[in-house]
């Protein structure tokens, strides 16, 4: 008999969910998301300000002494579920999870603290300058070089960077790895939007050409801080994937009840029913995995790396399956640009790759639980 953390939703979490869901229902219908994604402003920064500052979501992870809400990863997970359900075009994961977690892990006194207040208040937005596909446990990146307080280098595929006011950049200087904060704006920093698979959360390439930077973590803590951010991101991304999967399931169930073929709703055909039952069971299991990862992260449980690998390996595949079933069971209409299914498919597939694909998380798990690979 072992003891596991509470995997249910608390009343506080339910209330937070309700307010986020209301905001998104009001400001972020999928038709608006679709319209926006081919414009020059793929992010809805008005929505972001309401979510980040108005509802205080950007500061959930930030302690109250820095102006945050002093909540935990559990609440962040609930917000991500809702953002996933809406494929909302806001930089929550990049700013409020990845960059904020990195800064929080830098430790007090190193200057990271100063950044946290404006981020928590939703006044400023940050991004963590690593390729979005980087898994926890990856080697410290070598793509950016520090010369004193100047950074030079290039990082491709950074999530949410195109709307960031500041970048948290892992870079290596003469004395070893460090995390640096760089203000976006001057000519030494170029952030270039990429044409992205995920229309609702594009990636961008960051080029630094002697950009002015402030070091917020030195050789003793930078690698750990970066890894902590990647673990937090991966653990919590599972909740976003859960939200994506849930929405796909709900949309599909709704559709098959009203689409008639052969004189019956297609949801009455047993093969369709059984596939949706299996999908429901998969979503149910994804919820357990995502909740456990968030709960472990919230209490810095020593099992957090196992929980994260399990949640990522599992929820990535459930979200992709849910989106693929959503397309298929909608038939032709689900394959058109004017139906939201493709937005979810693209988000789900991008999430699968983000922060480590399932096979990479399974490989990490093998080491964590002592199931070594075959030696050839």
């Amino acid at each position: 008999m072992s003891t596991l953390p509470d995997l249910r939703y608390s009343d506080v979490e339910d209330a937070l969910r309700a307010s986020v869901r209301d905001l998104l229902a009001d400001r972020c219908p999928w038709s608006a998301v679709l319209r926006r994604c081919e414009t020059s402003e793929p992010y809805d920064m008005d929505l972001w300000r309401r979510l980040a500052g108005g509802l205080g979501c950007a500061g959930l992870l930030v302690p109250e002494r820095y102006g945050g809400a002093g909540a935990s990863a559990r609440e962040v997970a609930v917000v991500l579920e809702e953002l996933g359900r809406a494929v909302a075009p806001v930089p929550f994961l990049g700013s409020a999870v990845l960059a904020t977690s990195a800064l929080l892990a830098c430790g007090a006194g190193d200057g990271a603290d100063d950044c946290l207040g404006p981020l928590a208040a939703g006044e400023r937005t940050a991004a963590l300058a690593v390729p979005f596909a980087t898994p926890p446990g990856a080697p410290f990146p070598a793509s950016v070089h520090a010369e004193g307080d100047r950074l030079t280098g290039r990082v491709v595929g950074v999530v949410d960077a195109v709307v960031a006011d500041l970048l948290v950049v892992p870079a290596t200087g003469a004395d070893g790895p460090g995390l640096y904060v760089v203000e976006v704006g001057g000519s030494a920093v170029a952030v270039t939007l990429r044409t992205s698979l995920d229309l609702t959360r594009p990636i961008a390439d960051v080029t630094l050409d002697g950009a002015a930077a402030r070091r917020v973590a030195g050789p003793e803590s930078a690698a750990a801080a970066l890894d902590a951010a990647l673990v937090a991101g991966a653990a919590l991304l599972a909740s976003e994937q859960l939200g994506v999967a849930e929405q796909c399931l709900e949309t599909t169930v709704g559709y098959v009840k009203t689409r008639y073929q052969f004189g019956r709703p297609i949801g009455g055909f047993q093969a369709v029913k059984h596939r949706l039952a299996d999908l429901w069971a998969a979503v149910t299991s994804a919820r357990s995995a995502a909740r456990y990862a968030a709960a472990c992260l919230a209490t810095a449980d020593p099992d957090v790396r196992v929980a994260t690998a399990v949640a990522q390996a599992h929820c990535s595949e459930v979200a992709v399956t849910a989106a693929e079933e959503c397309v298929q069971l909608h038939g032709g209409i689900g394959f058109t640009w004017e139906h939201p299914a493709h937005l979810y498919l693209k988000r789900a597939k991008a999430c699968e790759i983000a922060l480590g694909s399932p096979d990479r998380h399974r490989a990490a798990l093998a080491a964590l639980v002592d199931l070594p690979a075959a030696t050839p």
């Binding site: 008999m1 072992s2 003891t3 596991l4 509470d6 995997l7 249910r8 608390s10 009343d11 169930v253 098959v256 009840k257 019956r264 709703p265 949801g267 009455g268 047993q270 369709v272 029913k273 059984h274 949706l276 039952a277 299996d278 429901w280 069971a281 149910t284 299991s285 994804a286 919820r287 357990s288 995995a289 909740r291 456990y292 690998a309 399990v310 390996a313 599992h314 096979d359 399974r362 490989a363 798990l365 093998a366 639980v369 002592d370 199931l371 070594p372 690979a373 075959a374 030696t375 050839p376």
Partner: protein, 397 residues
């Protein structure tokens, strides 16, 4: 958000148990259990006089903890799942006063063992189509038919029995529910051997078995409704804490993997990790259900766990055989035996592989579970029904 137990009630109960323990000798097992029943400490949520005290069900754990801490004998609940889990709640709800007084005490103490005579060769997933006939004859019913998949029939004293009393009405409406003495003339029990070689189950032949009308449970023709209570109680009780990691067949194969590096292959590594993840996730889902139940919020997730377990246990045991390669070609023992239960860790890998095939059939097939999820959880339309208003005797079979 956590279940709260009224502290005064809990303390009063603890005192009651301690008083009881002080005045009864736990070494006289049967006498001790009977007295515990009579003191209302058997199932505290049952009425007074029927083994309970009319208290909330959540308080039962207080009583069980106290008795367990004192090292007192229990009523071997794991050996009596059908009686305690399914028969007792049905008798409590539908039984007459005489029936409750006659049956509940020996059921609880384990003096009388119970089995369930529902399924038939022609009525599996579609239980309501069953054909065993009960014909009224004076104060008795005369029952003839064949039942199947009956656990413990060969050691049971009593059975709950569903039989057809009116073939001229649609299938759900012509059934009646009986309590059947397994020692009656005409009851013949035969072991039903499985693919594993052993026989956990039985076939039961009923040849003009007489059941007094006094042993009818519920009204004539109301058997389907009574049976719903039995079936809904099938999987309610989940006690204890969270299960540990790497239980059952997965634990066996993970241990083999660690201890025998010469067997490892790259292709099986990925499959093992996939199964490890899925097994762990199923454990977490089970734990969520447990937490919700403790809080009085039962949900439909149990069916997700059962569906997943069946598939996983089948894949895990299949992987084990493949991993073992040549060793997987052997089997331990095909002798026809009567096992006390299912054990996924003590027998050979071949046994595990074969036995796991039953997981998606027993206790409701995976297909029926998917139907139930689709219709009751997701609200999808039912199958077009061609048999609903047809008299049973006219149904195609």
């Amino acid at each position: 958000m956590t279940a709260t137990t009224s502290v005064p009630d809990a303390e009063r109960l603890r005192a009651l148990v301690r008083d009881f323990l002080a005045t009864h000798d736990p070494r006289e097992r049967l006498r001790f259990l009977r007295a515990r029943f009579d003191a209302g400490l058997a199932w505290v949520h049952y009425p007074e006089g029927l083994g309970g005290l009319g208290l909330p069900r959540a308080l039962q754990s207080v009583v069980d903890e106290e008795f367990a801490a004192a090292g007192a004998p229990d009523n071997a609940p794991r050996r009596n799942l059908i009686g305690l889990g399914m028969v007792a709640p049905t008798i409590l709800r539908f039984g007459t006063e005489e029936q409750k007084r006659r049956f509940l005490r020996p059921l609880w103490t384990g003096e009388e063992a119970w089995c369930q005579l529902f399924s038939e060769p022609g009525a599996g997933s579609d239980l309501a189509v069953l054909a065993t006939r009960a014909v009224r004859d004076g104060d008795d019913w005369v029952v003839t038919g064949q039942k199947v998949w009956t656990s413990r029939a060969h050691e049971a004293d009593w059975a709950i029995l569903l039989a057809r009393t009116d073939p001229d009405v649609p299938k759900h409406r012509g059934l009646t529910y009986f309590l059947c003495d397994m020692h009656s003339p005409g009851v013949v029990v035969r072991p039903l051997r499985q693919a594993t070689g052993e026989a956990e189950f039985n076939e039961v032949f009923l040849n003009r078995v007489r059941i007094p009308d006094a042993h009818r449970l519920g009204a004539v023709g109301d058997g389907w409704r009574v049976a719903q209570t039995t079936l809904m109680n099938e999987r309610i009780a989940i006690g204890g804490g969270a299960a540990p990691r790497e239980t059952g067949a997965l634990g066996v194969v993970a241990r083999t993997w660690r201890e025998r590096p010469e067997l490892r292959t790259p292709g099986l590594h990925d499959e093992l990790l996939r199964l490890w993840v899925a097994w762990e996730v199923n454990r977490l889902t089970n734990e969520r259900i447990r937490q919700q139940l403790a809080n009085g919020q039962p949900g439909p997730e149990g069916s997700a766990v059962k569906l997943a377990f069946a598939r996983l246990n089948q894949r895990v045991t299949g992987l084990e055989l493949t991993l073992l390669a040549g060793e997987g070609l052997a089997y331990d023992d095909w002798t026809m035996r009567r096992p006390a239960g299912v054990d996924f860790t003590q027998r050979s890998p071949g046994y595990r592989y074969l036995r796991a095939k039953g997981n998606s059939i027993e206790g409701g097939t995976s297909e029926i579970l998917r139907n139930i999820i689709a219709e009751r959880v997701l609200g999808l339309p039912p199958e077009p029904r061609t048999d609903k208003d047809v008299p049973w005797k006219d149904l195609p079979r």
